[in-house]
């Protein structure tokens, strides 16, 4: 008995909401990037679920691309965090006010 597509999409939307909450509520730069990763993963699960629903593999190809872009994003994001840490000795985003007027 196959699992209905709905189940996967509901799980994905819950994971997405948790990730969005993490991005909006946390103050550490690392935790914000972790929330973004969780949201990307939830989107991946949705793509794979609808790929099965429609019996086509294109959705899985998109998941592959999202994974690659997520890897690139996390490399640059963590490099930015390291550069910020060198500058202000903190990764608390509240302390990042250099560009505020």
């Amino acid at each position: 008995m196959a699992i209905p597509t709905n189940h996967f999409v509901i799980l994905a939307s819950l994971l997405f909401a948790i990730g969005a909450g993490g991005v909006l509520l946390r103050r550490s730069g690392i935790s914000i990037l972790l929330g973004v990763e969780l949201m990307l993963n939830a989107a991946n699960l949705t793509l794979a679920a609808y790929s099965r629903q429609h019996g086509q593999l294109d959705g899985q190809v998109f998941v592959f691309f999202v994974m690659a872009v997520a890897a690139a994003e996390v490399a640059v994001g963590l490099a930015l965090l390291v550069a910020i840490y060198r500058r202000i000795q903190s990764i608390d985003v509240d302390r990042l006010s250099i560009m505020r007027w």
Partner: protein
């Protein structure tokens, strides 16, 4: 049987995801996100996407989260005190937006009448590879350029200036 596996991994994924965004210690955040990504990999396998399940473990749990852990160790990131944003307005707005995103999607999905899922699409690596070097060849090559650009960009960003 499949349904039982789905419910167990879904519950585990949600609990560890909550831990990943709410715990104070960055190391606990990263390690519980590893558990979440493993559960999502099991869900990919349940969807018949065996290649994606392997890629999820290799790329996310293997590469990306090790990179995160490496940076946590490198920066010696202290546990936040307090972990969650303290400004009331931002707290309320953040929680409301997250609830709206999750709750709205679930309400829509429960109301929707979805046709029963057909048999799992053939998700093996051969078929996926044929698509990648066939119709999606240009995007596939573009991804390699993007990864190279990210590599060079990361190096430039962390390079010490003399």
């Amino acid at each position: 049987m499949e349904l039982a596996v789905f419910y167990v991994t879904a519950a585990l994924a949600l609990v560890s995801a909550l831990l990943a965004v709410s715990h104070r210690s960055p190391v606990v955040n990263v390690l519980s996100l590893v558990v979440t990504f493993f559960c999502v990999a099991v869900n990919f396998a349940l969807l018949g996407a065996s290649f994606l399940a392997a890629a999820q473990i290799l790329i996310y749990a293997g590469a990306i989260l090790v990179l995160f852990l490496f940076v946590v160790m490198l920066l010696n990131a202290p546990a936040e005190t307090p972990a969650i944003e303290q400004r009331p307005a931002q707290k309320v707005a953040g929680l409301a937006l997250a609830t709206l995103a999750g709750g709205g999607a679930i309400l829509l999905l429960i109301a929707a009448r979805v046709a029963p899922a057909p048999a799992a699409a053939d998700g093996n690596a051969v078929a996926l590879g044929r698509l990648l070097v066939g119709p999606y060849l240009f995007a596939f090559e573009l991804i390699s350029v993007l990864l190279l650009a990210a590599l060079v960009g990361a190096l430039v960003l962390v390079k010490r200036k003399h």
